[in-house]
């Protein structure tokens, strides 16, 4: 929804449409990228403006276990054909659950301050944490 719209330029009621036009079949059967989301849907708009720390994804260590995809409470892990692709930063709130459940060593996801530079952090990624004998 454009921020420029005036009071007389939207549908009445505290109501938003998820999709433009008519839905012919259950949206769950349509791949997300093919769904006709409306501009009013938060699929399009960023709802991440209160995030203070962000997850950074290092694909070198990822084993595509999908734990993060399963656990993310905001469906912000982008996965295609069971391969982890990255993070939807418009919807991620920075809760850190994905980092918590990541089973690799070192972790493939780590939390950093919102302003941290991703490439810098990946370049200085922690090494494998050896178990103490």
């Amino acid at each position: 929804m454009s921020k420029q719209q005036g009071w007389d330029e939207f549908e009445i009621g505290a109501m938003l449409r998820s999709f433009d036009g008519k839905i012919d079949e259950c949206p769950a059967f349509t791949p997300q990228r093919d769904r006709n989301y409306s501009q009013n849907s938060s699929h399009v708009a960023s709802v991440a403006d209160w995030r203070l720390i962000k997850p950074v994804y290092n694909k070198d260590y990822c084993i595509d276990c999908q734990f993060c995809w399963v656990y993310c409470p905001d469906v912000s892990i982008i996965s295609r054909d069971k391969k982890m692709i990255g993070i939807d930063m418009d919807h991620c709130k920075g809760c850190g659950v994905c980092v918590e459940v990541c089973p690799t060593n070192p972790k493939s996801l780590l939390m950093f301050p919102e302003q941290a530079d991703e490439e810098t952090e990946i370049a200085s990624w922690p090494t494998k944490d050896e178990k103490e004998e």
Binding site: M1, K3, Q5, G6, W7, D8, F10, E11, I12, G13, A14, M15, L16, R17, S18, F19, K22, I23, D24, P27
Partner: protein, 407 residues
């Protein structure tokens, strides 16, 4: 599922609660979600009996509180049903949060508000403090002065509130006990005439329309909330009055009973006038007639549509009078009465010289007697003759103890 119709007599003896229940039956309400409270219980009890007797197809949802009752109504209305309920006093107070949700979500729900005093002290009898409490909640508010009007205004409420250009919930007020429990002869419409007047419910943005998914009850912060509220107020001010006119006109065609935003009695040549609501209007009419025999040109105005407030009708009707008394049946809590304020606001930018005085009366079911009104009209005439207020602006009628006057 089929249901039976009722053959009604030309004249039925109903009280205000039963009249409202019959109107809900005839409107074929889909969902009544309600919690009982005196004196409104018989409205939903009556509807539940119609349901048990297979006279309606709707659902009666029994809930654990009035907050849940209105929440149930909101859910049912968002789902796409015709919805109604009833409450009073503390019940309305507990609903207060959800009333604002209903109007902000633009869901047409009909609420029978059987006016009763708000505690403390606890009291089951009539005053208008509950009506006043939600006057800014965004609901359309009608006021019935007797049982016939409670019946008629329920049917009109569905017609107006469900209009797709309106989509606002409607309160139908009637005086607790004085109207709700007082049986009188009514002229009901036939089941078919009543339903045809209200019309089939036409859903809008309903959640059961799976081909057009919607999210109801959205959150908007400083970037959008203001626009939503502005739209709601603009529609209430610009669109609703004309829709009420249309519904009143169509109702007059089928019933012969004419309603107006303000009801004027003996106002054509009136010099002094009492403005009030509820059953007091009928008492005032009777006294005004008697005052005319004594040479006082007395009139009465009853507020039929409390929201949206009929500013233009009021200023037109009152600006050329000499003295006007505004009666507020609610403790003013450190201010002039709410109705007094609205009427003063209607007149302030006219060139009127009318002398306006406010009276607090009838709290907790205290009677407003004819003697009170005779004294009131006499006082108004004295003000008119003197060309100025001879009393303070706010007085109390019918309270024991030393005379109270303020402002």
């Amino acid at each position: 599922m089929a249901f039976d119709k009722l053959e009604l007599n030309e004249i039925e003896v109903w009280d205000g609660n039963h009249a409202a229940a019959q109107a809900l039956r005839q409107a074929q309400v889909d969902v009544v979600s309600a919690y009982p409270i005196t004196p409104s219980t018989a409205v939903v009890e009556g509807y539940a009996k119609f349901k048990a007797d297979n006279l309606v197809e709707g659902e009666v949802v029994m809930v654990e509180s009035e907050h849940a009752a209105m929440s149930g109504c909101i859910g049912a209305a968002a789902a796409g049903g015709r919805v109604a309920t009833a409450t009073a006093s503390q019940g309305l107070a507990l609903m207060a949060e959800t009333l604002y949700q209903a109007s902000g979500m633009r869901l047409p729900i009909v609420l029978n508000l059987v006016n009763r005093a708000l505690a403390a002290p606890l009291n089951v009898n009539c005053d208008h403090s509950d009506m006043y409490m939600v006057r800014d909640s965004g609901w359309i508010q009608f006021d019935a002065f007797n049982a016939q009007e409670a019946y008629d205004l329920n049917l009109i409420a569905f017609k107006v509130g469900e209009d797709h250009d309106v989509r606002l919930p409607v309160v139908v007020n009637q005086d607790g006990f004085l109207t709700s429990h007082t049986a009188q002869g009514l002229h009901p419409l036939s089941d078919d005439d009543a339903y045809n007047f209200v019309g089939e419910y036409k859903p809008m943005n309903d959640m059961l329309d799976f081909e057009h998914p919607v999210s109801h009850g959205i959150q908007t912060e400083e970037d959008w909330h203001f626009e939503h509220k502005a739209r709601q107020h603009a529609d209430t001010m610009n669109i609703v009055p004309a829709k009420i006119d249309e519904a009143f006109a169509e109702f007059e065609r089928i019933s012969g009973r004419k309603y107006n935003h303000i009801e004027k009695y003996d106002m054509d040549d009136a010099e002094v006038c009492v403005v009030c609501m509820g059953t007091s209007v009928e008492t005032a009419r009777e006294v005004a007639k008697e005052m005319r025999e004594k040479g006082i040109k007395a009139g009465v105005i009853g507020i039929r549509v409390f929201r949206p407030f009929p500013f233009a009708d009021i200023s037109e009707a009152l600006k050329d009078l000499k003295a006007v008394a505004v009666l507020d049946r609610s403790a003013p809590g450190g201010a002039a009465g709410a109705l007094f304020n609205e009427i003063a606001g209607s007149l302030i930018n006219t060139d009127t010289k009318v002398l306006l005085s406010g009276y607090i009366y009838g709290l907790g079911g205290r009677d407003l007697t004819k003697k009170h009104l005779v004294d009131l009209y006499t006082e108004l005439q004295a003000n008119a003759d003197a060309g100025k207020l001879l009393t303070q602006q706010q007085q109390f009628i019918g309270v024991r103890g030393p005379k109270l006057a303020f402002l």
